[in-house]
């Protein structure tokens, strides 16, 4: 039995695959997470994100490939040998131990002489010092979540894993904890790997987001970049909303491709399209679309549609507009005008957008949302 392994540096997954019988949960993933970054694995349930996390923790062993931290190969080592700690989904606090003993569990196992001091510091960090003597069952979900975080952080792991840590909290508390987690991550400077199916949560907190689907990483990048320029149909639909239409590329116009989407010509910047000939899935985000009663002059990218539904959201108004092609677009207008548009279902409207916001991705889905 090998002992505890000190390892420092970036987290690296080399061609990691995990199969359960016939089912390949994680299929040949390569991942490089720089030390000290906040990294999110985002995807629907069953996409392999939790399995990936469990392989980093050592709770599962990969069928093939290597898990490295810095130059140390951790593949095959047991969870207790790795400088990695996990904040489990539903927290998994020890029900028979007090909050203090829960947090002190890791340092005590490692025979840390300063276990008591470090426990106090960790409880301080998550603002739970006054609950040290209680049992987990006596705490609320949000409090348990903080304890679970302290119990992992107290060990100063090289990599901290968070498995849907905020899933069980209500919306308000979740928002608070998002800010809190980000603050703590900045403060302690550890590598955080955060698994979630909540795209907003991933975008709020992470420096880098990897969108996973069916055991693959579909796209990886900064949240703003992923949102602005998705490279697959899955990412376009999973990360935020997208108004899309299948078209055929007919022509080029300078820097633009011109595609025909069911009779409507649309422009896509060549640099923003993953395909340059044949079929393309044209897309534009709802907030990039402008709704007006009359045809705007000279925009070029406009379509006439019929309002189906209007939802007033306070800061904005959301419209559903039936398009001539038969699809329904969603548009999101900030309520900036003194004179509101005052549209009703059945009204005819013109939709326009700046072609610079449009994107093109391959039509074939690697996965249905």
């Amino acid at each position: 039995m090998a002992g505890f392994r000190e390892a420092r540096g970036d987290l690296q997954l080399d061609s990691v695959t995990k199969a359960f019988g016939d089912f390949t949960a994680v299929d040949d993933i390569d991942l490089h997470v720089p030390r000290g970054s906040f990294f999110a694995l985002l995807g629907p349930s069953g996409c392999g994100k939790t399995t990936t996390l469990r392989m980093i923790a050592g709770l599962e062993q990969p069928t093939a490939g290597r898990v490295m931290i810095g130059d140390t190969d951790l593949t095959g080592s047991r969870p207790y040998e790795r400088p990695v700690n996990t904040v489990f989904q539903s927290y998994a606090l020890f029900p028979h131990l007090s909050i203090k003993d829960n947090v002190a569990f890791g340092p005590k196992r490692r025979k840390d002489k300063d276990a008591a001091t470090r426990t106090d510091e960790a409880l301080e960090l998550v603002q739970m010092s006054q609950f040290a003597g209680r049992k987990p069952a006596q705490l609320s979900g949000g409090q348990q979540q903080r304890v679970a975080l302290a119990r992992a952080l107290v060990n100063h792991p090289e990599v901290l894993l968070l498995d849907e840590p905020l899933g069980a909290l209500d919306l308000k508390l979740r928002r608070e904890m998002q800010v809190e987690l980000k603050r703590i991550q900045t403060e302690v400077g550890l590598t955080f790997i955060h698994v979630t199916h909540d795209q907003e949560e991933a975008m709020t907190m992470a420096d880098t987001v990897a969108v996973m689907n069916k055991g693959h990483i579909e796209q990886l990048g900064a949240p703003a970049a992923l949102y602005d320029l998705p490279r697959t149909r899955f990412v376009a639909n999973f990360l935020g909303q997208a108004n899309t239409g299948v078209g055929t590329i007919k022509d080029t116009d300078g820097d633009h491709l011109v595609a025909d989407v069911l009779g409507t010509p649309v422009k896509i910047l060549k640099s923003r399209s993953q395909v340059h000939e044949g079929e393309v899935l044209f897309g534009v985000r709802p907030e990039k679309v402008t709704v007006s009663r009359t045809q705007p002059e000279g925009a070029g990218n406009d379509v006439k549609g019929v309002v189906r539904d209007v939802s007033f959201l306070g800061v904005a108004t959301s419209y559903l507009v039936d398009m001539p092609s038969g699809t329904t677009w969603s548009c999101y207008e900030q309520n900036l005008d003194v004179e509101p548009l005052d549209l009703r279902p059945g009204d005819e409207v013109w939709l326009t957008w700046n072609p610079g916001h449009a994107f093109g991705v391959p039509v074939d889905e690697t996965g249905e949302k």
């Binding site: 050592g58 047991r78 489990f88 028979h96 069952a137 949000g142 608070e176």
Partner: protein, 303 residues
């Protein structure tokens, strides 16, 4: 700090329920309690009072088998002085059987909860299956299995591994019988508490630098303590009062207190008061032991 305010500020205010509603509800509760309370009253409290009365009766001198109502504690004195060794044996054998049952049951329950996979239901059936035949019949079967002519004693004798020459009619056979008979009562509560444990909590032990054995010692075992506590009580209490195993598997001399009570009631003329006093003493002794045990090892309820 806003998160902290939320954390600290959970108001624990329960609005008072309207009075008529509350009264109605409490009547329903009493009504629902009635059958159980009646059953307990007729079949538990009344016989207990009757037994207490009998335990204080005195004999008519010169008329064996006849009593008069009295407050006579001599029966208790007799129970304690004459039968102290029987009490000691009862608790010793029951204690040993409880320990052995724990040693056998824990790994079994652990395997059922964590390792059995598709075999889990089959194992469960095997644990429960003995209940389909009578307790006495099964103990009879053991008296044949352990008999001098049986293959167990025969094989051990052939290998010269049985110093006394026989198993049947020894305390060993009694303890083995008790262990066997009460094993399911040990397995099931332990299994229930292990099965209920969140596997992630056990994984968390490994994640926090505890190896397999340390995780078992510091996480799994403490989490299953409610089951262990229930199992030991469910085994020890009936085993301490048992007389069937001693009757069918045990030696002629050196009986347990259950046998004495049985004999005093059924075989000794005029033995009723002593039998009743013995029963009460046994009950009291078990109550005290259970109380001390639960005080020492009882954990407050876990999740």
């Amino acid at each position: 700090m806003s998160a902290l305010a939320h954390v600290a500020g959970d108001p624990d205010v329960t609005p008072a329920a309207p009075a008529p509603e509350a009264t109605k509800r409490s009547w329903t509760a009493y009504l629902l309690l009635l059958p159980g309370a009646l059953w307990l009253g007729v079949f538990f409290v009344l016989p207990l009072v009757q037994l207490a009365a009998v335990s204080l009766q005195s004999r008519y001198p010169g008329f064996p088998g006849y009593y008069y109502r009295d407050v006579n504690f001599e029966n208790y004195a007799a129970a304690l002085t004459d039968y102290a060794p029987h009490f000691a044996r009862s608790f010793l054998y029951a204690g040993m059987a409880t320990f052995l049952a724990f040693v056998v049951a824990y790994p079994l329950a652990y395997a059922m909860a964590f390792k059995a996979g598709k075999w889990r239901n089959l194992m469960m059936i095997c644990v429960v299956a003995p209940f389909f035949t009578s307790f006495i019949l099964r103990t009879f079967a053991w008296s044949q299995i352990l008999a001098d002519e049986g293959w167990v004693a025969g094989t051990l004798n052939f290998l010269h591994l049985l110093p006394g020459g026989n198993i049947i009619n020894t305390p060993l056979a009694v303890i083995a019988g008790l262990t066997y008979n009460f094993l399911p009562f040990m397995v099931l509560p332990i299994y229930a508490s292990l099965e209920r444990a969140d596997p992630r909590v056990i994984e968390a032990g490994g994640d926090l630098y505890a190896n397999g054995f340390t995780t078992f010692r510091t996480v799994t075992l403490p989490m299953s303590m409610p089951g262990v506590l229930a199992g030991t009580l469910l085994t020890f209490i009936p085993a301490a009062g048992d007389f069937v195993n001693m009757e069918l598997l045990g030696p002629q001399r050196g009986k347990m207190v259950g046998n004495v009570i049985n004999d005093q009631f059924l075989a000794v003329p005029g033995g009723y008061p002593v039998a009743a006093a013995l029963s009460f003493t046994l009950m009291a002794a078990i109550l005290v032991m259970v109380f001390l045990y639960v005080r020492r090892f009882g954990t407050e309820e876990l999740v």
